[in-house]
Symmetry: C2
Subunit: 151 residues, 2 copies
């Protein structure tokens, strides 16, 4: 079971901006930090801006930052925006879908899934922000850092 | 968010066999019923047989049937077998995964998702078995049937 890469990258952008609240960030800096394509991030960042999660300022002192505090950005809400849908299987192509109970059961399971995510904010993901910053820095300075895995 | 096509087809096979308990079925018959490739179903059926969900009998009177009653086949258990993993995003490729809280939160959401599916059996999906059989028959005889959508 997978979320789209688009959702994955959207969460990465928000997490990066939540880690670097002291400064304005650029798309190329975020792409470099994660080792992913800058092109892939353009649409992600535009859509996060349109959704009211990211503020984008033009000009020499411009850049990206969170549009609201991380404590006010709900993980479930973000993923509802970034996922095209939560239709886990291809029921529309299936002959028996009008009578089959699978869709309803999967729908109930997805609701339970999202209910958990609705209880968490971006801030909850940042409990080890200092370690995250050290990991980001390790890519830039090439030293590497030893961080014990998150629980 | 998507399950793999492999899981989708596994559920389709089990639902077909649960609808046609009065007879032995063939892979080609199931493929025709859903309008999907027979080749794709070969591995699905083999793995369901290995998992103890489908019994396969050789010979002239042979064919496929459920290896246990539909009421003893748990939906959550089947999907745990058929999904490669429930790693929703690509954390292993992400620099900050040792310190990031996203993995834990998604893991909790997946656990809630599976807990719902663990409460349902294949039998629960078959409440409108007569309508399902009518829909399968409509493909064979080309008449089409009007069935109101499942709730």
């Amino acid at each position: 079971m997978r979320l789209t890469r688009y959702s994955d990258y959207s969460m990465r952008v928000l997490i990066y901006l939540a880690a670097r609240t002291e400064k304005r960030c650029s798309i190329s800096e975020i792409a470099r930090a994660y080792g992913i394509s800058e092109n892939h991030l353009m649409k992600v960042v535009n859509d996060l801006a349109r959704g009211g999660y990211v503020a984008s300022m033009r000009g020499r002192t411009g850049g990206l930052r969170l549009a609201r505090p991380a404590s006010e950005i709900c993980v479930g809400e973000v993923l509802r925006l970034t996922e095209t849908d939560f239709d886990l299987v291809d029921c529309p192509s299936c002959l028996i879908s009008p009578a089959c109970g699978l869709q309803g059961v999967l729908g109930e399971a997805v609701a339970a899934f999202l209910a958990v995510l609705d209880r968490y904010t971006l801030e909850d993901l940042m409990r080890r922000k200092a370690d995250m910053l050290a990991l980001f820095a390790s890519r830039n300075d090439g030293t590497g850092v030893a961080i014990t895995p998150a629980e």
